[in-house]
Symmetry: C2
Subunit: 126 residues, 2 copies
């Protein structure tokens, strides 16, 4: 029996198997800035951007000294993903996340690096 809808099959929405990632040409500056306007999300992206290797979502259940409910964390990852900032790939039972930094740099030039550096600078001062 076929379980996936047509919309899923043609990639308009995500299945649980593979979440939806917008093509880079659909990614907008406002969408990126909205995603980064939340302290949890910018911290997640900054961490992924400087991490040695990709990380799963649950890595971030404690972030900035507080424990997040996993439904909330799931939403944050969805927003980062739909803003075009990260890629989430299933590996067994977990999703491993990495930034789409090459594509993003190609499309938005130095913007994202400048944001993350300003953010890192600010966090250092705290």
């Amino acid at each position: 029996m076929e379980l996936l809808s047509d919309a899923v099959k043609c990639g308009m929405i995500s299945s649980m198997r593979t979440p939806y990632h917008p093509p880079i040409e659909d990614v907008t500056v406002e969408g990126i800035l909205h995603a980064f306007s939340d302290p949890v999300r910018i911290e997640i992206y900054a961490d992924l951007a400087t991490a040695e290797c990709a990380k799963n979502c649950s890595t971030f259940l404690t972030i900035q000294k507080r424990l997040l409910p996993k439904s909330t964390l799931s939403q944050h990852f969805r927003i980062l993903r739909e803003a075009g900032l990260i890629r989430s790939e299933r590996k067994g039972v977990e999703l491993i996340n990495s930034t789409r930094c090459a594509e993003l740099k190609e499309r938005f030039g130095p913007m994202i690096l400048a944001i993350i550096e300003a953010y890192a600078q600010q966090q250092k001062a705290v």
Copy 2:
């Protein structure tokens, strides 16, 4: 008779005479990105950043081909101001607005320029 409250006098909140502007060291990356995450606000800032001279609020009552209620526009200006992005000074009956670009560049390096350039690039393509 004294009309201004203590809170106004010590600069914690704005009077109608002079709106409140946070000191540059209280300005945050997240606050700036939140302010920019709205299409109206980033457009206002981008316009002010490239304008020959400072502009009053009502200049932006029509923006991106739609007419904004002035209460909404007033909120957008307040958010830009409280994010530390713009300065609004009373000149007679109107407020004239300009960016705080020198201070911002000093504190956040190339971030804001990179954002506005990526935004301008994107708008050109539309």
